[in-house]
Structure formats: C-alpha cells, structure tokens
C-alpha cells in the first residue's frame, strides 16, 4: 500500500496495519470474537519478514499479557488485543505492568457481558478500564477511538504515551468499530528502534547488562511497607501529571447548545446523528466526546455544564461514565443516562425521544 493512500478496512485490520507501521516489536494474542482480525491480519501480513516484528499466538489471554509483560521489560514496543472476557483474564498482568511501570499497549474490542455474554458490541468495560480492573492502586491511559481512522492513529499515540510515562495504555474500542469498514489513511512507516536506541531511551530495560553496567531488575514486589508506600506515591504523582497534560476530547456543536450529550467511541457516532435529527426539531444540543477516558475531561465537562440545561450520557452499557460526568458537574446540572444493553446499539431516534423528554 502506498503512503497516504486512502483505503477501506475494518477497525481491527487498521490496528494490525498501524502496529506494523509504527515500529511495533511484538504482538502476542489469542483469538476471540469480535477482535480476531487483529491477529489474523498480522499473520497474513507476516511482518516478521519485513519489519522484524514478532507475532505469537499464545495459549491464552493470561499468557498473552504475560508475554507482553516480558517483552515490555526489554524496552520493546509490545502489544496485545482481545475482547472483554479475554481482557478480564488479562487483569492480573495489567496490574503487574502498572506496578512494574512498564509501557505496553492493550486493545480491548469490547463485547457485551457479564460472563460469556454476547459477541455484539458493548461499552460495559468502562469501569474495568478506568477504575482499575486488576488489583492495587493504578490507572491505565485509556484512548477511545470513534472511527477506523482513530483505531489506526491511536496505536502509535498509545505507545508514545505509554513510553513517555512508563505506564500501560489501553485502546478501548468495541465490536462496532472493530468490525466496521471505513476509509482510513494508514500512518507512515516508522522503523523499529535499534537495540542501541532502546538501551539509551530505556536505561531500565532488561536486555542483558552490556558493558558491565549494574543489573536491571524489573519487579513490582517490595515487602517493606515504607518503600512500597514510596513506590505508590511516585506512581500517583505520575498519574497527577498525566491528568494535567494528557486529557483529550472532541467538542461538537457546543457553541449554542443548551443540552449536552457526553458519549465516547461508537456511542459518540450515534450521538452525532442524534444531534442532526434533534437540531432539525429545534433542540439545541451538542456533544462532548472524551477521547481519553482516563484521564477524564472532568474540567471541560464542568465548564460546559455551567451553561447547559441538562446533560445526557449516551453509553452502550447500563450507565457507567454517567458517574464520572455527575462528579464532574458536582450535581449542579441534571445529568441523565441513556443506553442499551445486551449488544444492542441505541438507535438515533430513540435517543432523540429521550432528549425531547428532557427538554419538556
């Protein structure tokens, strides 16, 4: 494919192509619907023959995330992808990555739960992702793509953020974006970093103590409570810095809006259709789309909330982000939630009806 060529592909395929192009060193994954095309595309592309990227089909998601952990320890750009039940299995490894302060990318193409649930799209892993699905005090830098283009663009961005802060990053997508085909311009090729570059940029990496340097040891273990508290405080200070610097969002038709929809990912796409229909009917409504779910754009929502008559969160879950929106506006504005469950994606018309009731 030529540089800057516009092409048509699924969100899952875009993730795979973007990974190869952004200098990813290793992918470790296990098949699960609706994200299997990531591994399938990589297997078909054979990047180990071109960029040298390693691709391994692991025996489980537990193993995948621990391969990612091992790979991340070497300072390489490593990633995995899965869907909700598989990501539940990965929570142990994600906590270890956060605890050992390792950069890595996890992609969750969400499906509906709980349990085996459904293979249809869902956003019900919001809590799991942004509140910490694994044990301990940690955060995941979380990007929520709303298009196939963003699936492609966020791979490199997620790696950049992960390495900048030595913290795992998550792309929280869903079955709709993963399975949908849209036009996309893939990012330009970027070479994989050399071992010398890695040794320089990641002096902590466990790649063998070349030149007789002191050994690097990567662990999340510290049995002395005083030391462990210091480790925790250091990580928390890093999180505060991320909250200050890395909030990303999209504002859409908020200038004259009297009502605000807050929605992320595929729900934000539906919200734009809702806004088009509602505005035809005279309801002035806009959208705030958090692109980073953690750090969450609380200040922006609070600021917009001051001039809104009401806020509606549109989510493909039972109402999760609504809690963070309510916290952001400190209950000074009425905040309502609407969503569908079980893998059903809300239809624009039914959301418009909800808006109409809010206006009354």
């Amino acid at each position: 494919m030529a540089e800057n060529e516009i092409t048509l592909m699924k969100g899952n395929e875009a993730i795979a192509h973007a990974a190869i192009r952004c200098g990813c060193d290793g992918y470790f994954g296990y098949p699960i619907t609706p994200q299997s095309e990531v591994l399938e595309t990589l297997a078909e592309q054979k990047p180990w023959e071109t960029t040298g990227m390693v691709v391994v089909q692991a025996e489980s998601e537990v193993s995948s995330i621990n391969m990612v952990y091992g790979g991340a320890c070497t300072g390489k750009r490593v990633m995995t992808s899965s869907s909700s039940p598989g990501v539940s299995l990965m929570q142990e490894g994600i906590s270890y990555l956060a605890g050992a302060e390792l950069p890595a990318l996890v992609v969750n193409v969400q499906r509906g739960g709980p349990g085996l649930g459904t293979i249809q799209p869902s956003q019900a892993d919001y809590f799991q992702t942004v509140k910490g699905g694994g044990h301990g005090d940690y955060r995941l830098i979380t990007l929520a793509p709303a298009s196939v283009q963003e699936m492609a663009d966020f791979v490199d961005l997620a790696f950049e953020l992960a390495f900048r802060y030595r913290n795992p990053a998550m792309i929280l997508s869903d079955g709709a974006i993963g399975q949908m085909m849209e036009k996309v311009v893939l990012p330009p090729f970027k070479p994989r970093r050399t071992e010398e570059q890695i040794a320089k940029e990641c002096p902590w990496a466990t790649i063998g103590r070349k030149g007789g340097r002191k050994p690097n040891i990567i662990t999340s273990l510290e049995l002395r409570s005083e030391e462990m508290e210091i480790n925790n405080l250091r990580i928390q200070a890093k999180y505060r810095e991320i909250e200050k610097k890395e909030i990303r969002f999209e504002e859409y038709k908020t200038d004259d809006a009297e009502y605000l929809i807050v929605a992320f990912g595929s729900a934000a796409r539906i919200a734009k259709k809702v806004i088009a229909i509602a505005r035809e009917q005279g309801i002035k409504v806009g959208l705030l789309r958090p692109i980073t779910l953690w750090p969450f754009p609380s200040a922006k929502i609070a600021e917009l909330g001051q001039r809104m008559k009401g806020i509606l969160t549109l989510e493909i879950n039972a109402g999760q982000m609504v809690e963070d929106v309510r916290l952001a506006v400190e209950c000074k504005v009425p905040v309502q939630y609407f969503g569908r469950l079980g893998g059903i994606i809300p239809e624009p018309e039914e959301v418009v009806e909800v808006l109409k009731k809010m206006v009354k």
């Binding site: 516009i6 092409t7 048509l8 619907t33 609706p34 293979i119 249809q120 079955g175 709709a176 399975q179 949908m180 085909m181 849209e182 036009k183 595929s266 796409r269 539906i270 734009k272 259709k273 809702v274 088009a276 994606i345 239809e347 624009p348 018309e349 039914e350």
Partner: protein, 181 residues
C-alpha cells in the same frame, strides 16, 4: 447526498461482499463510506446483513434504524426491513422464495429475479453483482466505472480475469430490474 442502504439475505449469498464492493466504489469516487456488518457466527444458510452508507459528508452513526434503500434477498429479510424503509425510499427484492411480497404503497418497490436469471445463465457466482446492477439502475449510488475500479483494487490479481463476468452481471441486473408499484 447521503445513501443509507441495508443489504440482507442468507449467509453465502454474497451480501457482505456486495456491500464491500459498493463501499469501495464509493471510496473510488472520493465519498465518505461505512460498511457495518451484523457480525457473528452466521454461516451459509443463516442470515447476514450489512449497512452501507455512502455520503458526501462525514458519516455519523454507522448503525441506523431507517434506510433510503433496503435490498432484501429472502423472506425474513423482507419482513424485517420493509417497515424500516424511509417514506419515498426504495425496496429491492429478489422474487426467489418470496411468498409474501411487499405491501407498502409509500415506497418504491422493485423486483429483481436475479437468482433465477443467474441460475439460467450459469452466473450464480456473480449473483450478488446482478443485484448491485439493479440497485445502480434505480439509484445510481456509484458509477459502473467506480465498481470496476473497486473490483480491480480488491480482487487479487489472479481473479482479475473474472472482472468482465462481473461487469456482465451488473449490466444484466440493470436490465432485469422492474418496478412493481
């Protein structure tokens, strides 16, 4: 201009690939497109449908509750999507296996007996392209040149000799589609 289209039928009828070619053809014309399948374990004989949106504007929701065009290739699909065609919109159905034909008067109903024709002409493989031809006749979402370009782009080189047969099927489809109301 925006075309919101649902294509629905049995798995194995080429519903998803027809949608893909339609979307790709839109892309060839510089349009905004989305292709959103109802995915799952549907195999040959199960139901499959795909929503294709071709537009001059960025596409908002890839999932819709009403459509400008519904292309239905079996009875369950007809029953499901006839009510979801927008007033004044288009319903295209293949007569094969339909015993309860469409009833709505506020939409334009077209019948295309592509299944029978394809069987007669030994063109079953490109049955879906015949349907696409029918669509292009009654709603020129994309041009035939764009479709051929899309085929050249998406088909592996070793299948390029099949492109003339695809073109023939499209033209046949344009011929055999008839308005019913």
């Amino acid at each position: 201009m925006t075309h919101e289209i649902i294509i629905s039928g049995f798995g194995g009828q080429g519903v998803l690939s027809m949608g893909k070619i339609l979307a790709y053809s839109g892309l060839m014309e510089g349009k905004e497109v989305t292709w959103m399948p109802a995915y799952g374990p549907e195999q040959r004989g199960g139901t499959a449908n795909v929503t294709v949106i071709v537009s001059d504007e960025p596409v908002s929701s890839p999932i819709l509750s009403s459509y400008d065009v519904a292309i239905v290739l079996n009875q369950p699909s007809l029953d499901k999507f006839e009510p979801k065609v927008k007033k004044g919109g288009i319903l295209i159905y293949d007569g094969n296996g339909i015993n309860m034909p469409p009833k709505r008067k506020d939409i334009n109903v077209y019948r295309i007996d592509a299944m029978d024709t394809a069987a007669k002409l030994n063109m079953i493989k490109v049955f879906n392209m015949m349907i696409l031809g029918g669509l292009m006749k009654v709603r020129p979402v994309v041009t035939i040149e764009s479709v051929l370009k899309a085929l050249r782009k998406t088909l592996p080189e070793r299948h390029h000799h099949l492109i003339p047969m695809n073109e023939e099927a499209i033209r046949k489809g344009m011929e055999i589609i008839v308005k019913e109301n």
